[in-house]
């Protein structure tokens, strides 16, 4: 038995050592964006995290079919995992086994930055420049994909704007008006609650929606740099901007801003609450335009729905036209499998994609096409799209793509406790600053 045990231990050690070695090696050059040689059609895969019947997948499927007509034998295998936590797990496991496919989705997370640092992703800035497409992209769409050092390794396929949608009739009923400052919101919630209205509908189950709120005050108070410093431990929740957001979140909780039991409610629960006319406000992006600004919206509230952009604060470091404008999860190109075929297909697809995408009524990450407003749209649809033409240079980054994953997980948990009043702002500050101190050095050496 002892012998068997020893043999198994050695086998375990060897297997691990082998995978570890395998993980390190990658010979291709990330800067070589135009590989030379013959285009040999084959099946390539894209590991992605987007809705299975969404516009991006449908268009890319169609473009791949078109490409295959001239390149028999080519096939684009789309493997989608829309649930983000499951997707990230899949991606990280494949990355650990060094088995990433030709194309894969990722946000500009610290993990992705490590992958890029190891030369596993093709330089997207060079790639887009070589295709002569770089200048057609919205600067904001590309900036969203950049790492802290300004490098670009992911290509965006969307461009979205996040607004606070509200129900005019409910605000009127409670005798409140659209907030001019973020600081007005807690008092507004109290007034809405007294009128028997749920102030804000939020999807607590997915955690990122609540995490958006914690990013707002620092973005207004100290600009986009705050989270960049916070994640490295160079700024803290104990700082002025940090304390402002911690206390504001606690105030939102005290004023009962969110629906009761929000932490166990999902995406559609929150949206239904708003579209049924029960909740007064709902923070969501333009990807929901088809449900919020077309005749699909509940007729009972259709004429009462409007939106406002993220309010500023007095002495705000950022302007009213600067808010959360993400370009969604980006697509990275694997250096190891990058060859003339992948390069040629990307050239074909990326040139045709914007026009096809804009035709579906969505905002393209490029500026060279005009979005088609669907026939069943309400006037709000056009109003929402127009906001994209007048954006400032800074954008509020969602914190879940910025913080290291352990700190991010802890923040999501502690935020719920803070808003529910289960912990005090002081306890929150202490826990989070400690968590950043422990975890940040591992990711941002």
């Amino acid at each position: 038995m002892k012998k068997l045990f020893r043999a198994a231990a050695v086998a375990a050690a060897t297997a691990l050592a082998l995978t570890a070695c395998g993980g390190g090696g990658s010979s291709a050059d990330p800067a070589n964006v135009a590989p030379t040689g013959e285009i040999k059609p084959r099946e390539i895969s894209w590991l992605l995290s987007r809705p299975a019947d969404g516009a991006v997948i449908n268009i890319m499927k169609k473009l791949a079919d078109d490409y295959a007509k001239d390149h028999p034998g080519f096939e684009l295998n789309l493997i989608t995992t829309p649930d983000r936590p499951s997707y990230i797990q899949k991606l990280e496991t494949l990355a650990a086994a060094n088995k990433l496919p030709e194309l894969f989705d990722t946000d500009a997370t610290p993990f992705a930055q490590q992958l890029a640092g190891q030369g596993k992703m093709v330089d997207a800035e060079k790639l887009l420049k070589s295709l002569d497409l770089y200048d057609s992209y919205r600067p904001g769409a590309l900036d969203y994909q950049r790492f802290d050092d300004g490098s670009l390794f992911m290509i965006p396929f969307q461009f979205e704007l996040e607004f606070i949608w509200y129900n005019k009739a409910l605000l009127q009923k409670a005798g409140v008006s659209v907030p001019t400052s973020l600081d007005d919101i807690p008092a507004m919630c109290t007034a809405l609650r007294s009128a028997g209205i749920t102030p804000i509908a939020i999807d607590g189950q997915d955690q990122w929606p609540l995490e958006r709120y914690v990013a707002y005050q620092p973005f207004r108070e100290a600009g986009p740099d705050f989270v960049q410093q916070l994640k490295k431990g160079d700024a803290a929740f104990a700082d002025a901007a940090g304390q402002k957001t911690v206390n504001w979140m606690a105030d939102l909780g005290k004023a009962d801003c969110f629906q009761e039991g929000f932490s166990a409610q999902g995406y559609s629960d929150a949206q239904n609450l708003f579209t049924n006319g029960e909740a007064a406000m709902y923070n969501i992006g333009t990807w929901e335009l088809p449900s919020l600004a077309t005749d699909k919206l509940n007729p009972a509230v259709r004429d009462d729905i409007d939106f406002f952009t993220l309010p500023t604060t007095s002495g705000s470091a950022t302007a009213a036209n600067e808010f959360v404008s993400p370009s969604g999860i980006g697509m990275a190109v694997n250096t190891k499998t990058y060859d003339p075929l992948v390069s040629d297909f990307l050239k074909f697809a990326l040139q045709k994609y914007p026009a096809e995408y804009a035709a579906t009524g969505a905002l393209s990450p490029t500026t060279d096409v005009e979005t088609a407003v669907p026939a069943n749209a309400t006037p709000l649809y056009k109003k929402a799209l127009e906001q994209a033409n007048n954006l400032g240079a800074k954008q509020a980054m969602p914190w879940d793509t910025q913080l290291d994953p352990t700190t991010n997980g802890r923040l999501q948990q502690e935020l719920v406790l803070l808003v529910q009043g289960d912990i005090t702002p002081a306890q929150f500050t202490e826990t989070m600053d400690k968590a950043i101190g422990q975890n940040a050095p591992k990711f941002f050496k």
Partner: protein, 292 residues
């Protein structure tokens, strides 16, 4: 006793399943043990850190201890519902004359429903806005003051995520215990009744001692399943709010696949393996000692 030649053939036939078992169970455990001495995020170089992960787990990680205590409470609730509930239902079933099969099937039903469906079902049952079944029932019977968002309240969430797991497998253990109970020789029971034994004495002196071996097995099964419980809490609350329903298993999963801290996650998994072994040892020790 088998003759020599056939003993060899038995060994030959036993070898493949043994090898499969080693590859599927022992190897991953050893691999975890090995990884637990390293710091590794999957794509970085593996760095040997000695016992650092263990020190961190026992001394510096508040979530680990919270998750451990939660796991014990979760286990206790599951055991009470599964074993206690199963024993009560099985005992009642033996005294039933008609409809046994129907009741057995009904009780077993949750065990065959998919976990995801059960999790969603219970999220709805516990919901307050829109009002779920539990809060509605409380309202109807005049206990409206107890209405609450069961999954968002840090005081109730752990019990709320434990109950579905307990409820789910009650039927399965009921079936096992019922089978053992009906195997108790009738003449033993009749003799005891003639001697004037009450129902309770009959149960504690005749029936229970008779089913003890089956009871030990079901206790071990229920305990190890309880200690490994993961899916329902993960799906219902993802460990929240805060760490109120975080179990060792969900915490280990997050450490591995969200934080990509495979070394530390392996350390936690080694702890879970040892914890299960200790639990089984304790059960055998306690129940065997009682029997002697």
């Amino acid at each position: 006793m088998l003759p020599n030649r056939s003993r060899t053939s038995v060994l030959v036939f036993l070898l493949p399943p043994l090898l499969l078992y080693c590859a599927a169970v022992l190897f991953p455990i050893l691999q975890s043990l090995f990884l637990s001495f390293f710091s590794w995020n999957g794509i970085s170089d593996m760095e040997f850190v000695g016992l650092d992960n263990y020190v961190r787990m026992f001394v510096a990680d508040d979530i680990f201890w919270r998750a451990f205590l939660n796991a014990l409470v979760y286990l206790a609730i599951c055991l009470v519902l599964q074993l206690g509930g199963a024993l009560v239902v099985a005992s009642l079933l033996t005294s039933l004359r008609r409809g046994r099969e129907l009741i057995k099937t009904l009780y077993l039903l949750p065990a065959v429903i998919s976990t995801v469906a059960i999790a969603f079902l219970f999220v709805r049952i516990y919901s307050i806005d829109p009002v779920g079944l539990l809060n509605q029932l409380l309202h109807w019977i005049g206990l409206g003051s107890l209405e609450r968002p069961w999954l968002s309240d840090v005081n109730t969430v752990l019990a709320a995520v434990s109950a579905p797991e307990g409820w789910r497998f009650t039927g399965l253990y009921m079936l096992i215990i019922y089978a053992a109970l009906i195997a108790v020789p009738k003449e033993l029971e009749e003799a005891a009744v003639l001697d004037g034994a009450s129902k309770w004495t009959l149960f504690t002196k005749i029936r229970f001692p008779y089913i003890r071996p089956v009871w030990i097995t079901t206790t071990i099964m229920a305990t190890t399943y309880g200690l490994r419980g993961f899916d329902i809490p993960y799906l219902m609350t993802n460990g929240g709010p805060g760490q109120s329903s975080e179990l060792l298993t969900t915490y280990m999963y997050k450490t591995a696949f969200t934080s990509t801290d495979f070394g530390y996650a392996s350390t936690i998994s080694v702890f879970i393996v040892i914890e299960c072994l200790v639990a089984v040892g304790l059960i055998l020790f306690l129940l065997k000692r009682k029997a002697d």
